[in-house]
């Protein structure tokens, strides 16, 4: 380090420059901070010296590895313009290709990379929220040693000597599923020890899936499922659109087959709780958690022959046979998915896919998924070792086992390890339980790579200089291993190893960075089915069919997932796609069960089971839940998750593995109010979501057209002169058959439009600020309903009821058909919101918090931060419209259809949203508007909304009347 600020930092030469070493010097000078008076001569002396020094040092041509926010612009760079860098989403192990919008050296928005062969441009809510995680003010800023902040030099010195002392001992690295470079780094680190072992786990474990393939095909693997190739999908307890494996990629593939045509796929979901995937199914079959494996066994028997060992009730048997018949009709073009971490269920699934000829078609075994590398048996073994005091040092990397592995007794065993090193980004449970904390970069600050599917190599490049005094985990491991190198060089070398002797298809490393990844055509051979059936049969027969009055089913929500991003307030405030509840987890009960137990929504219950601490949670009555099931989401009840995540909900991790176990549900006298954004779940016979059966629709598409005078009828004659028309008229069409309700758009909108987080209490008061919301309605029978999702934002009405009621003209109509809110002019009468039939306007009840100097870095400078007392709402991303128009104009051309995407549209994994210029007859939106399924919500009011919907089509013979189908 050439520059030093003080003797203190001079003495710690390896100290990273922290961009926020202390609070930024804003406001009043601190006490004792004397203001020195400089004489004029002194001033010139010093500035002359400064100039000379800067000249002398500025001539350094060494390439910097830092991504610094520039103080002075470079030639050709226009301040205030966006730079887009490709990277890989650090949100989970799915490794979706992403592009990041970097403005003046700060990434402010992450979007799916449309060229990525896995996610195809979609990104899930967790991915969309990563920029907020990056700027979390509560992140670890310095290393911690013996509960005190330390300098890197001291930490390294201490650790190196301690590791040297344990050279001959047992050293373990426990991590989540890692990318190739980090795996290599772990290996390099462990190589220096006599007994070093790397153990991987996944909080939402699919270890049984890999184990099942080890037993049926002799190779531990997670298949790569090809949903786009499947005509029929049967998913058993697998929420593949919400939380299972790769929801964004699956979502895109799934939606590609949900067009209302002859190729529309059919989707049957067999599950105990209502998941996002289940809510989209054409047919949904409720089973008890304990019956799901038996259901799969019955499916197997119906297809392969043989007598099932387990018994199912008459209805279950009938359904299993019906599904088996349907599967047989789609040999090689169907897909059976199972999300249970249960080896027998997974073996049955593997057998089914084998028997149906799906291997090599919809189930890819030759190039499997590398997402879930976790091995539960290895974790158990490790924890047994630790508990026995046989582990000398444990390094935890990119995981939070102290929280996630409580069911395995990790924390108690961890205390028995002498040297406990955590490479965390957050001061989480594991960091607090460790002796040494070496803070890692956030994924967006780091050189990383990923290989979510064999041969699909993805690289992520840092988008900014690390905000705090953190260091890349690979760099830490390699430094401690005595082979220090930079993360960039390390990833580069991994890539070289990866591609050595293979044709990569492009020229340089720089090109790889531009593309974000490369798909290698690896020679591969699929493992062959060779199951020891008698072993499976005898084990399965020996397992007692455990059935109880209440059975626990643990699941993960689409936003919070395993809980690693629990500190992220965007995800905490994201309404659960099914329950619409924020900031909490709860015990879901079916309506019948709740009625029997005389429990109402919000009543607090105590879940009890032998050997486990009670779990106290509020009740949520969930239509579509199996009557035996008690559904509880993981990822809550964290004890160390920053100011937003700590203490939210109850921790169900200790119950993991107790899945399906009998439990006792006992009421308590307490009652809480849940922070729910939607209290009414019935359309009340109103035709808000139109739904048709595929069969009938294909026979007569015109039958879906709204009847004249009804929904979606043309605008009535008006006594007012129409608005002046400009060169464009922006409109949107949302295909309800393709929207899964995943809520990615909600977070994308939040990131794009600086939408504040209001907190649990304010959501309870129904004051959430989301411009984009997804209305979810149940139709049909309460016990076993169908679900519809309807994204709703400002409908940009042409005859907007909000516009004429504002006394100060703060909401006006643009000549491009937009309904514009002028924040500066708004005095806050709220009349516009009252008069909005869609209730999409949001009022700033207070000044919402944007004060944290780090957290506010996420704000999009193109969008005004609204102050208290003004109304706000969806603008159709007007900042994007303006930018695209300006770009087209600068380039002297017309705006091309499709070049302009709203944030919600861009994020949508299902590509359900089409946006564009109505006046361009060739635009996608103009074409979509002529679809016979098109209708307008509340079109009969004559408000002429610019947002149109395409009726939901379910692949069934005849539809249950969704909205009552007609006016009451």
């Amino acid at each position: 380090m050439r520059f030093w600020k003080s003797i203190h930092s001079k003495k710690t030469p390896n100290q990273r420059q922290d961009e926020f070493p202390e609070e930024l010097p804003v406001g009043e000078p601190k006490v004792g901070e004397a203001v020195r008076h400089l004489s004029r001569r002194d001033f010139f002396r010093w500035s002359g010296l400064g100039f000379a020094v800067s000249l002398a040092t500025g001539c350094d041509t060494k390439k910097s590895e830092k991504a610094l926010a520039l103080l002075q612009g470079q030639e050709g760079q226009v301040p205030g313009t966006d730079l887009w860098y490709s990277t890989t989403c650090p949100g989970c192990s799915a490794g979706c290709g992403a592009v990041a919008k970097v403005r003046d050296g700060r990434p402010i928005k992450l979007e799916g990379n449309p060229e990525d062969s896995l996610s195809h441009g979609g990104l899930c809510p967790v991915g969309q929220a990563q920029v907020r995680s990056l700027y979390d003010g509560g992140r670890l800023r310095t290393p911690i040693m013996a509960d005190h902040e330390a300098h890197w030099a001291d930490l390294d010195r201490d650790l190196v000597s301690r590791f040297a002392d344990t050279k001959g001992g047992n050293v373990r690295v426990l991590s989540g599923s890692l990318g190739p470079s980090q795996r290599r780094a772990v290996q390099a680190f462990l190589g220096g020890f006599k007994d070093g072992k790397h153990v991987t786990y996944d909080a939402l474990s699919q270890s049984a899936l890999a184990e099942a393939y080890e037993r049926t095909h002799g190779q531990r693997l997670v298949p790569a499922y090809q949903l786009a190739k499947a005509d029929l999908i049967v998913a058993v307890e697998a929420d593949f659109l919400g939380s299972w494996l790769n929801p964004a990629g699956f979502g895109r593939e799934y939606a590609s087959r949900r067009n209302a045509d002859a190729h529309m796929s059919r989707h049957i979901q067999v599950e105990s709780v209502m998941t996002l995937a289940g809510s989209n199914a054409d047919e949904r079959i409720r089973v008890a958690p304990s019956e799901a494996a038996a259901f799969l066994e019955h499916l197997c028997s119906a297809i392969e022959g043989g007598t099932p060992i387990r018994v199912l009730d008459a209805n279950g048997k009938k359904k299993a046979h019906e599904i088996a018949e349907a599967l047989k009709e789609h040999q090689g073009r169907c897909l059976v998915l199972c999300g249970m971490n249960d080896v027998h269920a997974q073996i049955f699934t593997a057998r089914l896919n084998k028997a149906l000829g799906n291997e090599g078609n919809t189930v890819e075994l030759a190039r499997p998924s590398l997402q879930k590398q976790g091995d539960d048996a290895a974790v158990r073994a490790l924890i047994a070792e630790m508990a026995a005091g046989q582990v000398d040092a444990l390094v935890v990397l990119g995981a939070n086992p102290a929280y996630e592995l409580s069911a395995f007794g990790f924390k108690e065993a961890y205390a028995k390890v002498k040297l406990r090193v955590a490479l965390s980004t957050m001061p989480d449970e594991t960091a607090f339980a460790s002796t040494h904390v070496a803070p890692d970069h956030h994924g967006l600050e780091a050189w990383r790579d990923a290989e979510p599917v064999k041969g699909r190599y993805r690289v992520s490049q840092p988008l900014l200089n690390p905000l705090f005094g953190t260091r890349d985990a690979s760099e830490s491991l390699l430094l401690w291993a005595g082979a220090p190198t930079t993360a960039q060089a390390w990833v580069k070398s991994t890539f070289a190893l990866f591609t050595s002797g293979k044709t990569v298809g492009f020229a340089s490393w720089d090109e790889l960075l531009q593309k974000g990844g490369v798909d290698l055509d690896l020679p591969a051979s699929a493992p062959i089915y060779k199951e020891d059936r008698s072993r499976t049969q005898s084990e399965w027969a020996a397992l007692k069919a455990e059935s109880a009055e209440y059975e626990l089913r643990l699941y993960a929500k689409g936003g919070i997932q395993e809980g690693r991003d629990a500190f992220n307030p965007w995800l905490q405030e994201l309404p659960d796609p099914i329950t619409k509840i924020t900031w909490d987890n709860y015990a879901q009960l079916s309506p019948a069960t709740a009625e029997r137990m005389k429990l109402a929504q919000g009543d607090v219950v105590r879940l009890k089971a032998k050997g486990l601490a009670d779990l106290v949670l509020p009740v949520v009555i969930q239509p579509g839940l199996h009557d035996k099931a008690v559904g509880v989401a993981l990822g809550y009840g964290r004890t160390h998750a920053g100011k937003h995540g700590t203490g939210v909900g109850g921790d169900a991790y200790p119950w993991l593995g107790a899945d399906r176990h009998a439990l006792e549900v006992s009421p308590t006298p307490q009652k809480v109010e849940l922070a729910c954004t939607q209290d009414h779940h019935n359309m009340e016979g109103r035709e808000l979501v139109r739904e048709f059966a595929l069969a009938g629709y294909l026979k007569d598409p015109a039958s879906a057209r709204p009847i004249d005078g009804g929904v979606g009828s043309p605008v009535q004659p008006s006594m007012y002169t129409p608005h002046p028309k400009g060169p464009h008229h922006w409109a949107m069409v949302i295909d309800l058959s393709k929207c899964s309700g995943c809520s990615s758009c909600v977070i994308a909108c939040q990131a794009e439009n600086n939408i504040p987080v209001v907190g649990k209490d304010e959501v309870r008061r129904k004051r959430e600020m989301h411009w984009m919301r997804i209305d979810r309605y149940y139709t049909g029978n309460e016990q076993d309903p169908q679900v519809v999702h309807q994204p709703l934002m400002c409908q940009q009405c042409d005859n907007a009821p909000c516009e004429n009621v504002c006394p100060v003209v703060a909401t006006v109509h643009s000549e491009e058909g937009l309904n514009q809110q002028v924040y500066n002019r708004c005095v806050g009468t709220r009349y516009c919101a009252n008069n909005c039939p869609y209730k999409t306007r949001r009022f700033n009840w207070f000044n919402y918090d944007h004060e944290d100097v780090v957290e506010r870095l996420v704000l999009n400078p193109d969008v005004t931060v609204r102050s208290r007392g003004v109304m706000e709402k969806c603008s159709f991303c007007i900042q994007r419209i303006q930018l695209s128009k300006a770009t087209a104009k600068n380039e002297g051309r017309e705006l091309k259809d499709g070049e302009l995407k709203t944030a919600c549209q861009q994020s949508c994994p299902g590509m359900a949203i089409v946006f564009g210029d109505l006046l361009d007859p060739n635009s996608d939106v103009a074409k979509a508007l002529s679809d016979p399924k098109r209708y307008q919500v509340l079109g009969e009011l004559g408000v002429a909304p610019a947002v149109n919907y395409l009726s939901k089509i379910r692949n069934v013979e005849s539809a249950a009347p969704a909205s009552g189908g007609h006016h009451a």
């Binding site: 016979g685 008061r765 009349y831 869609y838 209730k839 306007r841 207070f846």
Partner: protein
């Protein structure tokens, strides 16, 4: 037109002019009794509570109220419409009854007009504080500005409100003041020589000397102002009703609203006049001026307007059913049976059932019963506005956005505060100015004949 109450004298006790002057001006010339101080201490406490609540609102935001994404107005606009409604009786009594030569108005018009002005002051507070950014509230006025052609929105009923309320306030205040001039002169003449009071009253009474010429001019101006104020009685509440009627919200969007609101306003205004007068005539010893005949006349107005209001309720329900509009039907069903049914039935009981007691002459002439009934009507009319505003908003078109509304302490305190303001001003008025228009009462002595 028949003479009002030909059988009974308007002022009882066979008073002489001298007596009238002495009795009417006595409260302004003596030290208030203990009870008055206790009363004003209570009303000032209420006012302070309201002041705190408004301070809280202004410093923290509208979030201190119980509103939410779906219910954007509740207590604020309910209170606004309630107070504007109260403010209706004054001008009706002084202007319309003046033009119709209803001489019984003379005993109550001064106090009723004062009440109107105070009520409109309370009402005017709410449109200001209900704004998210009241410090830029003047943008609702068509003021010339430097922002180019940035003007107010003449299509917005809220802007019409601004004009309607301010016009009403100004005209009412001027009308009241002009009516006060002869009495102010009397008060001036009775004030001790050289006192500050006398100097102030000399200015306020505009050099009145009781000459014929003055009286002629006075009568002309008063008549003209009465003519000017008369359309306002109808227009103010019509325009207030347009805040709702021009919207697209089921339950608001009704052509019935203007007459319905005007009738409701007169109903509530007379109820408030009754409540105040029944107390005032008792404690201020004005039972011979504000006689049971006056009370009975007002009770009859109450009965009539109450029935008009009841008819409007029935019409609303009928039209909701007859229109076949599912949203409209749902809103009215929800009013009577939904989460706010208690408010609806409170309104129904107070406004529809209560007036029918007034068919009985005994009830009409028994002050304490009348007082209770008038309070019920006041409560009912507050609930009417609450029901219209909250039940229509909380469950409108999209069931996904349906919410409930619970007021906060802050909102309740603001409402109490406006009562504090209203009553404080009224108490001060009773002791500072002649509560009864002495000059006019003198004209109707001897059985109302000139």
């Amino acid at each position: 037109m028949h003479e009002a109450h030909p059988a009974s004298p308007l002022i009882e006790g066979n008073k002489t002019y001298r007596q009238v002057t002495d009795e009417v001006f006595r409260p302004t010339e003596s030290k208030p009794p203990r009870a008055w101080f206790i009363a004003i201490a209570i009303t000032l406490s209420m006012l302070s509570l309201g002041g705190w609540a408004i301070f809280n609102t202004l410093t923290k935001g509208i979030g201190t109220w119980g509103l939410n994404k779906t219910v954007g107005w509740a207590f604020d606009i309910t209170n606004f419409v309630f107070w504007v409604g109260i403010g209706h009786a004054g001008t009706l009594i002084s202007a319309i009854l003046f033009l119709f030569r209803q001489h019984w108005r003379t005993s109550i018009n001064r106090a009723a007009e004062a009440m109107t002005i105070f009520a409109v002051m309370c009402a005017g507070l709410f449109p200001i504080i209900h704004m998210g950014r009241p410090w830029v509230g003047h943008w609702a006025l068509p003021l010339p500005n430097t922002r180019g052609p940035l003007w107010v929105n003449f299509r917005s009923p809220l802007l019409w409100d601004v004009f309607a309320i301010s016009t009403y306030f100004i005209v009412s205040a001027v009308f009241w003041y002009i009516g006060l001039v002869p009495d102010l002169a009397t008060q001036r003449d009775r004030a001790p020589e050289g006192s500050t009071k006398k100097r102030i009253l000399s200015i306020l009474s505009l050099g009145w000397n009781g000459s014929n010429r003055r009286w002629t001019r006075y009568e002309t101006v008063y008549g003209l102002l009465a003519g000017l104020a008369t359309p306002l009685v109808v227009s103010v509440h019509t325009i207030v009703s347009w805040d709702f009627a021009t919207s697209v919200i089921p339950g608001w969007h009704a052509t019935l609203f203007p007459p319905y609101f005007v009738a409701g306003a007169v109903f509530s205004g007379f109820a408030m006049v009754l409540s105040l007068m029944i107390v005032a005539r008792k404690v201020m010893d004005f039972e011979e001026y504000i006689t049971k005949a006056h009370l009975e006349a007002m009770a009859k107005v109450l009965l009539l307007t109450g029935m008009i209001v009841s008819f409007a309720y029935a019409t609303e329900f009928f039209i909701a059913w007859y229109s076949g509009n599912p949203y409209e039907r749902y809103v009215f069903l929800n009013r009577a049976t939904g989460p706010f049914k208690w408010a609806f039935w409170a309104m129904f009981t107070c406004n529809v059932v209560t007036p029918h007691f007034l068919w009985s002459k005994k009830v009409r002439t028994t002050p304490w019963i009348l007082f209770i009934l008038s309070i019920f009507v006041n409560i009912g009319m507050w609930f009417e506005r609450f029901v219209i505003i909250v039940t229509s908003l909380h469950r409108d078109y999209l069931p996904s956005s349906w919410t409930n509304y619970t007021p906060t302490f802050n909102e309740a305190a603001t409402f109490i505060g406006t009562f504090g303001l209203f009553l404080t001003l009224f108490l001060l008025f009773c002791r500072v100015l002649p509560m009864i228009a002495a000059s006019e009462v003198k004209g109707v002595l001897k059985n109302g004949d000139h």
